[in-house]
């Protein structure tokens, strides 16, 4: 058997990072010389390594092949998402590298869990067999369960951790239960074989129930209504940096699996209609709930519920362009959310949760960060000229005339609802003066924030190159 290392270069690289961090976290010098060696220096190489991982992922963008007995498929879709995960991971690591609520001696463990979770997501992108998918999902989830409570001086973090685990365990149980039903009804756990099976209520009722339950596990990751209850609380309780990660990357993993599953469905099937309804409810509920939030992270939590709904628009289209649009939008979503969190993390120098009022007068304290925040907020609304608009445009165009026109209209109207709370970010940052003297945040974060905002603007102006990858991925699933 010919073996090409390029096929799983990104995973290999990520694994190397995990192993290095593992050695670091168990090395005795780490425990004993607590006072002599600054801990932050021990993990200083990590951002660089994460960026190198991005390069590795970019290198293997064109890789194709299957390993592990057809259970692990490397194709355009998986490589697109691995690149997205590597990108998100690099940003998340950069973002978390100066974390005020993390004890120095826990840094290596923290990053170990973070990179392990990212590794799980990368595997998820390539998994094309239900049990493999389940294992990869759990790899990324379990690491995250342990990450959420890692926030010093904050009792709510433990609460958030417990909520996340309990909800997660329930969703996983549902998922496993569904897996059993699918196996029983369709006699295969390979997606390639399942694609050929019938998926209508008349022909395979058990299979439909199983598929719906199996998807529930991913809806949970995606924070889609009605599996969204954890999102605001977990964002609220976890540290800003952890929330940035939990809000973005796991969504990528969920989307990639849902894209693979959606490729089996056709518009008009009952499952597809259920997805469309869940999407519509999710975006409406998320946006309405976000309207009244004062805590920025809770607001973003509900906004993520709404965005999960938007992504559904692409999935129910069940066409190459729809899947491509969903993939493209999830990449953009990761970028814009991380940009938003980047500003929050920079502003919250003591690691507390920010209220909207904390943004008052930001244009004066940190004009550049205020601009970055404005770009991120506008992208989240889906206003041009940001990448958020292009993503939304592709989603809506793909879903139109696929039998779910009402969903497109609901999505468009939701933009009008959502503008209010995103605009609140800009309004507080630009038009409200701060009450007292507030210290300016350290200027070191502005550069990367600018890079992120620039990325959002550039992708808004020239989305074609990135979209082409996404489209190649979509075409390969649905020729």
């Amino acid at each position: 058997m010919e073996f090409n290392v390029n096929i799983f270069l990104p995973e290999l690289f990520q694994l190397a990072i995990v192993l290095a961090l593992f050695l670091l976290s168990v090395s005795p010098s780490m425990k004993s010389s607590a006072k002599s060696a600054p801990f932050s220096a021990r993990t200083a190489w990590l951002p660089l390594a994460a960026c190198a991982g991005l390069v590795a992922a970019a290198f293997s963008l064109g890789a194709h092949g299957t390993i592990l007995g057809e259970a692990y498929q490397v194709d355009a879709l998986s490589q697109f998402f691995k690149f997205a995960v590597a990108l998100g991971f690099a940003i998340a690591v950069l973002n978390a590298s100066s974390q005020p609520t993390l004890e120095p001696e826990k840094r290596a463990d923290y990053f170990l869990l973070l990179s392990l979770s990212a590794l799980g997501l990368m595997c998820l992108a390539s998994a094309v067999e239900l049990i493999t998918i389940y294992l990869a999902l759990e790899l990324s989830s379990y690491s995250l369960y342990a990450l959420i409570p890692l926030r010093s001086r904050e009792p709510r973090a433990a609460e958030a951790g417990i909520k996340y685990i309990l909800f997660g365990a329930t969703a996983t149980a549902l998922s496993l239960f569904g897996l059993a039903y699918i196996l029983a009804s369709q006699h295969s756990s390979y997606l390639a074989a399942l694609t050929a099976s019938p998926w209508s209520w008349a022909e395979a009722p058990i299979g439909i129930i199983g598929l719906t339950l199996f998807m529930a596990g991913f809806f949970y990751k995606l924070a889609l209504f009605p599996f969204h209850f954890w999102a605001p609380d977990v964002y609220d309780g976890a540290s800003n940096e952890t929330a940035a990660y939990a809000a973005t990357l796991p969504k990528l993993g969920a989307v990639v699996v849902l894209i693979r599953l959606a490729a089996m469905l056709k518009p008009g099937l009952q499952v597809t209609t259920v997805l469309a309804i869940l999407g519509a409810v999710s975006m409406t509920f998320g946006n309405l709930a976000a309207l009244t939030q004062q805590d920025i992270k809770r607001m973003l939590g509900y906004s993520s519920v709404a965005h999960a709904g938007y992504i559904m628009v692409g999935l129910v289209a069940a066409s190459a362009s729809g899947l491509a649009a969903a993939g493209f939008y999830s990449l953009i979503y990761v970028l814009m959310n991380l940009t938003c969190f980047w500003v929050i993390c920079r502003l919250s120098t003591d690691g507390r949760n920010l209220k909207l009022n904390d943004l008052d007068g930001l244009y004066r304290r940190a004009p550049f960060l205020a601009f970055v925040l404005a770009v991120a907020a506008l992208a989240l609304v889906g206003l041009p000229p940001t990448a958020g608009f292009m993503g939304k445009l592709f989603l809506l165009s793909a879903a139109w005339n696929r039998g779910y026109d009402w969903l497109v209209v609901v999505a468009a109207l939701n933009t009008a609802i959502s503008i209010y709370y995103y605009l609140n970010l800009i309004r507080h940052a630009y038009t409200v003066e701060a009450d007292g003297e507030t210290a300016a945040p350290p200027p070191d974060g502005a550069l990367w924030g600018g890079v992120l905002a620039g990325l959002l603007l550039v992708l808004g102006a020239v989305p074609a190159p990135v979209f082409r990858w996404a489209e190649a991925a979509g075409r390969q699933l649905m020729p």
Binding site: Y363, L383, P384, D405, V409, I419, R427, T431
Partner: protein, 520 residues
């Protein structure tokens, strides 16, 4: 010179100018640089002199593939309609910088930043020939305008700016849906190509309603106008000027560019509705303006009335009506912009926009009142001024089609005379309260009123050149419209008679159907 990208330069020069602003220190320096940039932008419009007045199609076209997978193109072009609007926009930029010279005293850099971005987006809206590009510029202008109101506005700025933003965005979300629908029906985002096709009547109806909702909010037409007075009153002078002179025109421009060519049959079908709310706008705006104490509010409501004439002229579907509509668009831009600048001028002196606190200025500020008199006369459509030409053309068009409709619109003209003369009379000859200490117009103020005054008289006395610029385009639009609305008229009757056949396949669009009947 032949391959100089005139339109791209016009659209993106202000953005480039924005990039320079952060590196300049000192408010005065920023103002001077912005003024220079504004003048340069005006000079960049000089190549438009080569605009061939006899060509009905698009000129100065620029076409670059953008996202080929989705048929997106960077496509700019200009016809007679956009020419006039672009010239108006570009002319106003330096004037806005000048009229904010002493009015804006804080966050000067950001102010001019917003002003430049606004200009870019506005020019972009008028020259974009790709639907998506149009939409991008259309939305891009929201944020700078929001900031202009929310940062430099009056005491109620939070309410006004949010209302402006939410109203406008709510309208344009449906525009986005219509855009997507047209893409799938026509297979392209290119406006000229989409305009060349004929769509099924049911499809036209829904898309017309979706687009008309967006444009009617922007114009604004009668039930959707409530954001306008709030925004005008709270916005700083330059914001009001841009709002009145350019933003409102985008709605009317949308009707001309999208509704008539893309949905001709539906335009005919809904014309009675549009005409009814146009006349409602004219009369309602006039009556409400009559009762205002705040000068800016008065002018804001007069805008509602004037824009009613524009939509009336458009939906009467005659050449005179369209000419008149475009003339009113242009003239309203000139005259109302100037009136808002005049209010700004007096506000800087008396710190009040109440009519009662600015009485008897005639004796102490003769030059100011002179300009005020000229622009007020122009606003009420006095013969010899620019607005007369526009309103007369609209009325001629209306009378030619339906005399009784013209008769209904005539009181609007009378009302505009009533509220403008009342304002002018009080300002000029009322019992002076505190006007004694005011200084008359200074050189800077002369400089920004003079060009507008010249235009008022020039277009008023010699509208020929302006008409020649718009006529070929409007004739093309109208001929095209007549051809295709007639073709579609036969199925139109059958389809309209059985509403179910229209509703059944498009039931999904239900929300947009509710649009025109939204509570105000």
């Amino acid at each position: 010179m032949s391959d100089w990208p005139t339109l791209t330069a016009l659209v993106f020069f202000p953005v480039a100018a924005c990039l320079v602003l952060p590196f300049i220190r000192g408010d005065r320096a920023i103002r001077i640089v912005s003024l220079v940039m504004g003048v340069v932008e005006l000079l960049l419009a000089l190549p438009l002199l080569r605009f061939n007045l006899s060509v009905p199609g698009y000129q100065f076209q620029e076409l670059v593939a953008w996202v080929p997978e989705w048929g997106l193109h960077y496509h700019l072009g200009m016809d007679g309609i956009s020419l006039l609007m672009v010239l108006l926009t570009v002319l106003l930029l330096p004037l806005c910088v000048l009229c904010s010279w002493s009015y804006i005293s804080r966050r000067v850099k950001e102010f001019h930043f917003s002003l430049m971005l606004m200009t870019s987006a506005c020019v972009g809206v008028f020259v974009a020939l790709d639907f998506v590009l149009f939409y991008i510029f259309w939305e891009a202008m929201l944020v700078p305008m929001f900031l202009l109101i929310a940062v430099w506005g009056g005491p109620e700025r939070r309410y006004a700016s949010l209302k402006f933003f939410l109203y406008t965005l709510a309208g344009s979300t449906l525009l986005l849906v219509a855009m997507v629908a047209f893409y799938l029906a026509g297979g392209t985002f290119s406006i000229p190509e989409l305009s060349a096709r004929t769509y099924p009547f049911g499809f036209q109806c829904w898309t017309f309603l979706a687009m008309a909702f967006a444009f009617a909010i922007k114009v604004p037409m009668f039930p959707f106008h409530t954001w306008l007075p709030a925004a005008h009153v709270e916005a700083p002078t330059a914001g009001s000027v841009l709002l009145a002179s350019v933003l409102l025109k985008m709605g009317a421009y949308g009707f001309l560019r999208f509704c008539l060519p893309l949905t001709p049959a539906a335009s005919v079908y809904f014309a009675p509705l549009m005409i009814a709310i146009s006349i409602a706008s004219i009369l309602y705006g006039g009556f409400v303006a009559l009762g205002q104490h705040d000068m800016k509010k008065l002018i804001a409501y007069s805008s509602v009335a004037h824009m009613g004439f524009v939509t009336l002229g458009i939906f009467i579907f005659t050449l005179r009506g369209l000419e008149g509509a475009l003339m009113v668009m242009l003239n309203h831009g000139i005259t109302t912009g100037a009136l808002f600048m005049l209010v700004g001028c007096i506000y800087e002196r008396s710190h009040s926009r109440e009519i009662g606190k600015n009485l008897g200025l005639g004796k102490y500020l003769p030059a100011y009142m002179g300009f005020f008199g000229l622009f007020a006369l122009s606003s009420l459509g006095f013969p010899g001024t620019n607005s007369f030409v526009g309103e007369a053309l609209v009325l001629i068009g209306v009378f030619a089609q339906k005399p009784w409709l013209g008769a209904v619109a005539i009181p609007g003209v009378l009302l505009s005379a009533a509220y403008m003369l009342r304002l002018g009379q009080k300002l000029a000859w009322g019992e002076p309260t505190q006007a004694r200490a005011y200084k008359d117009l200074n050189v800077r103020e002369w400089v920004y009123f003079a060009p507008l005054a010249v235009l008022v008289i020039y277009i008023g006395l010699a509208p020929g050149l302006t008409l020649r610029a718009m006529d070929p385009t409007l004739t093309r639009v109208l001929n095209d419209f007549r051809e295709r609305s007639v073709v579609a008229a036969a199925p139109a009757k059958t389809a309209a008679s059985s509403l179910e056949s229209v509703l059944a396949p498009r039931a999904a669009l239900q929300p947009s159907a509710a649009a025109p009947t939204l509570p105000r």
